[in-house]
Amino acid sequence: MSQHGTDRVKRGMAEMQKGGVIMDVVNAEQARIAEAAGATAVMALERVPSDIRRDGGVARMADPRITEEVMKAVSIPVMAKARIGHIVEARILEAMGVDYIDESEVLTPADEEFHLLKNQYTVPFVCGCRNLGEAARRIGEGASMLRTKGEPGTGNIVEAVRHLRQVNAEVRKVIAMSEDELMTEARNLGASYEFLKEVKSLGRLPVVNFAAGGVATPADAALMMELGADGVFVGSGIFKSDNPERFARAIVEATTHYQDYKLIAELSKDLGIAMKGIEISTIAAGERMQERGW
């Protein structure tokens, strides 16, 4: 009578990540550093977002060898990225036993119209969102966890802040609405009516929502927690910094104790140089990863 891949099992796995930091890693050694620093999971990929941005070209699912090495190196959950709409990359990662798949705008989309139908898989998915409509559509397709898109690989927190504030403001608006206003709001957001009813009755999103896309310092991580994120993804911010081990530990501790400002001050002292950031207005509109997906 035991059931695998139910919503409760898939969403529950994300609930266990709450208050934690999920770190991008490109090899087994980085994965071990992340685990020792207290990461709750690692994201295995071939290049971190800032390198993808620099190198250009098509970014695809990582070589399975890298993902496999990371899975062997650590006991914490291992996530991996598939291209938006790439059914076969997702099935490959599921067959390899990856614990969570990120259908990610960091990679070059395989399908510009359709996202994966994620409720067809046993493995759970996390997806990016910029607003409640995107969140609703991804959950409708079966995503079990959300993250803000931010602007990956920039080390600039401004887009992650914008997206988290937007989602949370829209959630608060739905909660405050009377029930007879929900259908119109559903049409305006491109969300299902049933989804908005669920948000209203729960008083929150039905799945965990992490922050991602621009976290570069312990203070950035704490800021996202302050704004209501359930946890934090750090992409390029750790292994593109001067001292990855110290940055990793400091970001984990700042996430746990995000309102303890004296502590965050201590954590942030003499950390060395954070990853070099990019001002968003210097990125051509067509190169903004957040515009991928809908």
């Binding site: 009578m1 035991s2 059931q3 695998h4 891949g5 139910t6 409760r8 099992v9 529950g12 796995m13 609930e15 266990m16 990540q17 709450k18 208050g19 934690g20 685990e35 020792a36 620093a37 207290g38 990461a39 709750t40 999971a41 006991s75 914490i76 959950p77 599921e94 036993g97 990856v98 614990d99 969570y100 046993t122 493995v123 759970p124 530990r249 984990v252 501790e253 746990t256 104790h257």
Partner: protein
């Protein structure tokens, strides 16, 4: 009113706090040693045990948690929390708190794609309980004083050892508060605690 803490470093903290309140007790988040003062019982939630352990060490919580166990007050670990309580963790040289007389193996049902939910019969709980297993550990062996409360697939998944209660699965992921109520019933009533002058 009973005051019950939840170790709030990471993981399914909110769900346990809500379950405690649903059972009519006061729920307290525990991040620092001082938060353990005046608690009647403590829950160690599901999450990632390696991440929690690092934060326990970093913020000087290990001795206060062991001291809390010394007082004899009830402690309940779910999934990662069970791993933190166990006297032995298979494949690791040292336990974490090492206070509950059981040996635990991590990730013993496989990876996330093998995670599952199943209704289980539990000693001391009337009727089936929907148990959610996520990359769950299990109890490999238990000391003679340990009461096995539930076995699934030939593996011990819930046990009680004196003041300690542990389970492999996540009661906090359901709306069913019977296991929390069972744990709260392990708190001695005030009259039991009156000491002779």
């Amino acid at each position: 009113m009973k005051r019950v803490g939840v170790l709030a470093l990471q993981g399914a903290v909110r769900e346990h706090l809500q379950s405690i309140e649903a059972c009519g007790a006061e729920a307290v988040s525990v991040k620092w040693p001082k938060d353990l003062e005046s608690l009647d019982a403590l829950i160690l939630p599901g999450g990632e045990s390696t991440a929690m352990r690092r934060l326990i060490d970093r913020y000087g919580l290990m001795e206060p948690l062991r001291d809390f166990a010394e007082t004899g007050k009830p402690m309940f670990g779910t999934c990662a929390g069970l791993i933190l309580l166990a006297e032995t963790v298979v494949g690791e040289d040292q336990p974490h708190l090492g206070v509950m007389d059981v040996a635990v193996a991590r990730n013993s049902f496989g990876r996330q794609v093998d995670s599952f939910e199943v209704p289980l019969e539990i000693n001391g709980i009337e009727g089936a309980f929907e148990a959610v297993f996520i990359r769950a550990p299990h109890i490999v062996s238990a000391g003679p004083s340990t009461e096995v409360l539930c076995v699934h697939d030939g593996k011990i998944v819930m046990a009680k050892n004196g003041q300690f209660l542990g389970c492999s699965f996540h009661p906090e992921l359901t709306e069913d508060h019977r296991i929390t109520a069972y744990f709260l019933s392990m708190i001695p009533s005030k009259s039991d605690l009156l000491l002779p002058n």
